[in-house]
C-alpha cells in the first residue's frame, strides 16, 4: 500500500514523468493512470503480481535495454566498473572504517534475505490466505443465512395452504352432531311407539290373566259352597 501511496505522489507531482518512459519505475508502465484521467475504473484493476524486472536488486532492466543497441551486453557493466574506479581513484568516495562496516552490514543483510526470505514470504502469504478465507467464510455464512430465511418463508406459505383443515374438522363435527341427534330422534320414536303397543298387549294379557284367575276362584268358591251345603250332609249321611 505504501508503494501505491508513493506512486500516487509521483503521479500527482509530475505528469510529465509519465513521458520519461525509459527511466520511470516499471510499475508506472502498468495500465494504471493516476489522477490524469477521470477515475472511471471501479473496482480498481488488481495490482500486477510482480514489479518490473530488476537486475542485481538495484538496476532496472530498461537500463540495460537502453544501452544494448549502442554498447551490447557488457556496456552497462563497463560503465559501472568505470564509474566505481573513477570515484575511488579521484577520492570522490573515500574509503574509511565506515566502508568496511557498510560492506559487512550489506553482506550480512543480503545473506539473511537470501536465506530466510522465502520462508518469511510464505508466512506472510499464509496470513493473507487466512484473512481471505475468513472473508470468504463470512460471505458464505451470509448467503446461507439468507437462503435459510427464504426456505422458512416458503415453508410457512405451505402451511398457510393447509389452514382449511381446521375449519373442515369443525364443519364435520357440526354435521356429525346434527346427524347423531336426528338418528336418536328416530330411534326414540320407535321405542316410544313400541312401548305403547307393548303396554296394550301387556295390559290385555294381564286383564285376561286376572279374569281367568277371578273366574277360577269364583268357580272354586261356588264349588266349595255347593259342596259344603249339599255334599257335607250327604257325606255325613254316608258315614
Amino acid at each position: 500500500m505504501l508503494s501505491r501511496l508513493a506512486l500516487h505522489a509521483a503521479g500527482a507531482l509530475a505528469p510529465a514523468l509519465k513521458n520519461a518512459a525509459p527511466l520511470a519505475p516499471g510499475v508506472l508502465q502498468a495500465s494504471r493512470i493516476f489522477h490524469t484521467a477521470s477515475p472511471h475504473l471501479a473496482p480498481l484493476p488488481p495490482l500486477p503480481e510482480h514489479g518490473g524486472k530488476i537486475r542485481h536488486g538495484l538496476i532496472p532492466e530498461e537500463f540495460f535495454g537502453f544501452m544494448y543497441p549502442k554498447t551490447g551486453v557488457t556496456g552497462p557493466y563497463v560503465l559501472g566498473t568505470g564509474l566505481i574506479l573513477y570515484l575511488l581513484s579521484k577520492e570522490i568516495y573515500v574509503i574509511t572504517a565506515d566502508t568496511v562496516a557498510a560492506m559487512t552490514t550489506l553482506g550480512l543483510f543480503i545473506y539473511v534475505v537470501k536465506k530466510y526470505g522465502p520462508s518469511i514470504a510464505s508466512f506472510a502469504d499464509k496470513l493473507r490466505e487466512d484473512q481471505l478465507g475468513q472473508a470468504e467464510g463470512l460471505k458464505q455464512a451470509s448467503l446461507k443465512g439468507i437462503s435459510d430465511a427464504i426456505e422458512l418463508e416458503k415453508k410457512q406459505q405451505a402451511l398457510v395452504a393447509k389452514r382449511h383443515y381446521l375449519f373442515d374438522v369443525q364443519r364435520n363435527n357440526i354435521a356429525m352432531t346434527l346427524e347423531v341427534f336426528y338418528r336418536e330422534r328416530l330411534h326414540k320414536v320407535y321405542t316410544e311407539v313400541k312401548n305403547r303397543l307393548d303396554y296394550h298387549i301387556a295390559k290385555q294379557n294381564m286383564m285376561r290373566r286376572k279374569e281367568q284367575e277371578h273366574m277360577i276362584s269364583w268357580v272354586e268358591n261356588h264349588v266349595m259352597k255347593s259342596i259344603s251345603a249339599q255334599e257335607v250332609s250327604h257325606f255325613w249321611h254316608v258315614w
Binding site: 470468504e136 430465511a149 338418528r183
Partner: protein
C-alpha cells in the same frame, strides 16, 4: 324417515397437527377427541330404526283399529331434520381466515423478494483479493469500525477483539 347422506370431508390429521400453534394444542386436542367421540357414536347408531312388526300387533291387540291408527300416524310422522345454524358461522370464519392467510402470503412474498435482492447483492461483490477496507465496509456494513463512538484504536469494545 329415510336416512340422509352425510357429507363428511376427509381430514388429514397430520396437517391438522402441523398448523396448530403451540399455545392452542390443548384446544386442538379437545377438538380432535370430540371428533372421535362423535364418529364412534355415529357408527354405533344405525342409520334407520328397526321396523315395527305391525302384523304381530294387529293379531294380538284386541281393540280394533288401535293398531291401524297407530300404524297410520307412525308412517305419517316426519321427524324434522335439525337445522344447521352453525356451518354458516364456520364458513364466515374461514373467509376471514382466508383473507388473513392471503395477507400473510403477500407479506411473506415481499420478504422473499427482499431476501433475494440481498442475496444477489452479496453474490455480486468483487473478489476479496481486489477489495480495499472501504470496499469491504461497503459490502458488509457490520464490519465497519465505529470511529465516532470509539475514537481510539481498536475502535470497538475490547471484548470484541
Amino acid at each position: 324417515m329415510a336416512g340422509r347422506k352425510l357429507a363428511l370431508k376427509a381430514i388429514d390429521w397430520a396437517a391438522f397437527g402441523e398448523i396448530i400453534p403451540k399455545n392452542q394444542k390443548a384446544i386442538a386436542n379437545a377438538l380432535k377427541s370430540h371428533n372421535e367421540y362423535l364418529t364412534n357414536r355415529l357408527t354405533a347408531l344405525p342409520e334407520k330404526p328397526q321396523v315395527i312388526n305391525w302384523a304381530y300387533y294387529k293379531q294380538n291387540i284386541a281393540k280394533p283399529g288401535l293398531v291401524d291408527e297407530f300404524e297410520k300416524k307412525y308412517n305419517e310422522l316426519k321427524i324434522p331434520v335439525p337445522e344447521d345454524k352453525y356451518t354458516a358461522l364456520v364458513d364466515a370464519e374461514e373467509q376471514e381466515d382466508a383473507k388473513f392467510g392471503a395477507e400473510l402470503v403477500k407479506a411473506s412474498n415481499a420478504r422473499i423478494a427482499e431476501l433475494q435482492k440481498d442475496m444477489d447483492k452479496i453474490k455480486n461483490i468483487i473478489p476479496f483479493e481486489q477489495m480495499t477496507v472501504e470496499d469491504l465496509n461497503q459490502a458488509f456494513p457490520h464490519t465497519r469500525l465505529d470511529k465516532k463512538n470509539y475514537p481510539y484504536w481498536p475502535h470497538q469494545p475490547i471484548e470484541n477483539l
